[in-house]
């Protein structure tokens, strides 16, 4: 993977697996995406994911604050599990972080795969999606 540096900031780019999400204390877009997509039971096809959040983790729209809060906490505690650059010469990349132990009830918790967009070095991470027990295709 190409590693480049900005002369002005000397920040290694892109971030690497094992590191914390850059600017993890300033994520944007979490509530909007949770409300409009991840937890929207009426979304065509996507409603199945909202059902997954409900059946696996006991989380629905009434618990959006719980999930929002645990995602924000989770990205400060858990390292990047994968970084994907879309094009070799592009700065933007997608960053994957697994957050364990999410669930409103002790007997219904699991890890949640979160995906973040980083547009440029130094930009705030934009929340793309969250997938309960998300497992990549191999």
């Amino acid at each position: 993977m190409r590693i480049s540096y900005l002369a002005s900031e000397a920040v290694p780019w892109p971030p690497r697996k094992g590191e914390l999400l850059p600017r993890h204390d300033e994520p944007v877009g979490i509530e909007k995406k949770l409300r409009g997509y991840c937890l929207a039971l009426d979304h065509k096809d996507g409603g199945s994911k909202a059902n997954g959040f409900l059946t696996m983790l006991g989380i629905d729209l009434t618990a959006i604050g719980y999930l929002d809060r645990h995602i924000r906490i989770g990205i400060t505690d858990n390292p990047i599990s994968e970084v994907r650059q879309k094009k070799a010469e592009a700065f933007d990349c997608a960053v994957y972080i697994r957050i364990p132990g999410i669930g409103r009830y002790s007997h219904r918790s699991a890890w949640v795969l979160t995906v973040w967009q980083l547009d440029t070095p130094g930009s705030q991470p934009r929340f793309i999606t969250a997938i309960p027990r998300g497992r990549k295709k191999r």
Binding site: Y37, K44, Q117
Partner: protein, 77 residues
């Protein structure tokens, strides 16, 4: 129907027209982020056991359904 960048909005349902990162043509997904040249699409298998986010240019996608049908919801953040 082949689509262009202007046809796609966040949360629309699309299908892959060609294989992308191991996901076969025909796989359905949701546009979870609109980027300048590519669409970020969340895809999953039929059982929902495997899921991922892939990037594809709009010409490699087929629009299945606009979402929501009545226009975008207003949601603050």
């Amino acid at each position: 129907m082949t689509i262009t960048r202007a046809d796609i909005a966040e949360y629309d349902v699309v299908a892959l027209l060609k294989e992308v990162e191991g996901w076969p043509a025909g796989t359905r997904g949701h546009v979870v982020m609109v980027c300048p040249t590519e669409m970020c699409v969340e895809v999953a298998d039929e059982r929902g056991e495997e899921a991922d986010v892939v990037y594809a240019p709009p010409e490699d996608l087929r629009l299945i359904e606009k979402w929501p049908p009545g226009g975008p919801k207003k949601a603050g953040d």
